[in-house]
């Protein structure tokens, strides 16, 4: 499946709304095992994404991804800003250098998170949604129920990266906030693809 500029624009428009709606939930998840600001951080970012989307009507896919990446990088701060930003920046580069196959794109995004965060699958981070989604896409198993399962699976993990890792075992039993905001992202993608 190919990602087009049009699809991507709709995808990010939906995501802006979704973060606005879920800001408090993300803050709450982050209060339990972090510092309580993940929703606030992401909201600062998507507000800037909205501005970019309004100005970027004619951009090609690689440029669009880059602009969204820059918006997130320059407004989110904290840990999630550079992670989402790197993921989208790497996707933008991938489009420019290779193709716009969705499964390849998300895989390159996941690789970006891994590289930037020095993290691995199982560390209880957003990567624990990105990587399985990339795999699902490659195997034609990208659907709502699988997506939800990936998110829920983060509850059982002990955090090895990010602020939650200071809690050690006490991080078990909670969803990872970055995994939740990633689940929201891919839920928006599903909605766009299914239209």
């Amino acid at each position: 499946m190919e990602l087009t500029t049009e699809l991507a624009t709709k995808w990010f428009e939906l995501y802006v709304q979704s973060i606005q709606e879920h800001k408090d939930q993300l803050n709450e998840l982050d209060t339990a095992i972090g510092d309580g600001d993940h929703g606030t951080n992401m909201l600062r970012g998507v507000e800037q994404v909205q501005t970019v989307l309004q100005q970027q009507a004619t951009a090609n896919l690689s440029d669009l991804l880059k602009q969204v990446a820059f918006a997130l990088i320059s407004k989110v701060g904290g840990a999630s800003g550079p992670l989402y930003g790197t993921a989208l920046l790497d996707m933008s580069k991938y489009v420019q250098e290779h193709d716009s196959q969705l499964s390849n794109l998300i895989a390159s995004g996941a690789a970006g998170i891994k590289r930037r965060g020095q993290s691995q699958v199982g560390d209880k981070t957003m990567l624990d949604v990105w990587q399985p989604v990339a795999d699902d896409l490659a195997n034609n198993q990208f659907n709502s129920s699988n997506l939800d399962q990936h998110l829920q699976a983060t509850a059982d993990l002990e955090a090895k990266k990010g602020r939650a890792s200071y809690l050690g075992e006490r991080s078990v039993g909670h969803l990872d906030p970055g995994a939740k905001s990633s689940e929201l992202l891919f839920d928006c993608l599903l909605q766009v693809l299914n239209k």
Binding site: D35, G36, D37, T40, N41, F70, I73, S74, K75, V76, G77, G78, A79, G81, P82, L83, G85, T86, R116, G117, D123, K160, K161, G162, R163, S165, Y166
Partner: protein, 329 residues
């Protein structure tokens, strides 16, 4: 929450304006950023490697208060307890670079590390020579994948590197020196009362009237144990034992000692604590050749303090002693 502020969302920009204005012209703010940079005459005339630090706000005077002749070139002020973004860090790097390259001094938190890393990559793409060092002096958590946190020792790293940069060291020399200092810097902190993050409105955790928390971070992270408050002397012994265990020191080693207030603990208590620390070190025959006391790396209005020891190498004591022109040292 009882604070002398206006809107919570305006705390950082208003504070940064205050800092710049308090400097009597020695600092300026880069337009459209929360970057504070040297504005003194020497900065225009004397070329050296740039030193840029930064991180979440709430640790004042760190880092903006250590910008000035002989210390940092620029500081990037993030939201309270939130890493600044790479574009702001990049702006600081560009202005700090005098053609000799820039060293980034980063406290070890994933947000800070990643944002500074991205800025470094962006600057390198612009053909600016940039390197970075990661300060991880807090010994309160066991060394994990995530690594230890960067806390009060950061200011001593900034002081030593500032003096070395002024003296003309190259980027590579500074990076190496910085890493050596970090490897020999160990800190442990205690809290009598947690800080109140303005956006939260109440203390981050509760302690009873006779309790202290051992091993706190500088972002209201709880420590490794909650104990009854003890005398300054007992506290000094307790912290020293844990810190000294991190060094394999021998009799000829010389140390620097930093007693750092967390924000709401008066100097009176910090000096008494220093007195006990030095007494104990003397008893153990450990030589101290530099001491520093004060609220340097704070955690908003936390009550408490931290103790830092640096095992000194050649010339470091001199770097620590040299005069600088900053708001906070």
């Amino acid at each position: 929450m009882k604070k002398i502020i206006n809107q919570v969302s305006e705390i950082v920009p208003e504070m940064v304006q205050g800092i710049v204005q308090a400097s009597n012209g020695l600092l300026r703010q880069l337009p459209d950023t929360q970057v504070v940079i040297r504005n003194d005459e020497q900065f225009q005339t004397k070329i050296q490697v740039g030193l840029v630090s930064g991180g979440g706000s709430g640790h004042e005077p760190l880092h903006a208060g250590f910008v000035g002749e002989g210390m940092l070139t620029a500081a990037v002020c993030g939201e309270i307890f939130t890493s600044p973004t790479p574009d702001q860090i990049l702006a600081a790097i560009k202005e700090a670079d005098q053609g000799q390259g820039v060293l980034l001094i980063v406290k070890n938190y994933s947000g800070d590390v990643m944002n500074f890393d991205m800025a470094k990559e962006m600057a390198q793409a612009d053909n600016i020579k940039v390197e970075s060092i990661i300060v991880d002096d807090d010994i309160s958590i066991p060394d994990s994948q995530q690594g230890r946190r960067g806390v009060a020792g950061t200011v001593l790293v900034e002081k030593i590197l500032g003096a070395a940069a002024r003296q003309g060291c190259t980027l590579e020399q500074l990076q190496q020196l910085g890493q050596q200092v970090i490897d020999n810097t160990k800190t442990l902190g205690i809290a009598l009362q947690a800080a109140t993050v303005p956006a939260v409105g109440h203390p981050g955790f509760e302690l009873a009237n006779d309790e202290i928390e051992y091993g706190v971070g500088i972002h209201n992270e709880r420590g490794y144990s909650t104990e009854k408050l003890q005398s300054a002397q007992k506290l000094a012994q307790e912290l020293l034992t844990k810190i000294l265990a991190e060094f394999d020191a021998n009799k000829n080693d010389e140390f620097a000692v930093l007693v750092n207030g967390m924000g709401a603990t008066p100097l009176m208590e910090q000096y008494i604590f220093l007195n006990n620390v030095l007494e104990e070190l003397q008893k153990q025959g450990i030589k101290v050749t530099f001491t520093k006391v004060g609220n340097l790396v704070t955690s908003i209005d936390m009550s408490g303090l931290s103790l830092t020891l640096v095992k000194l190498d050649n010339g470091w004591q001199d770097y620590l002693t040299q005069n600088v022109t900053t708001l906070g040292w």
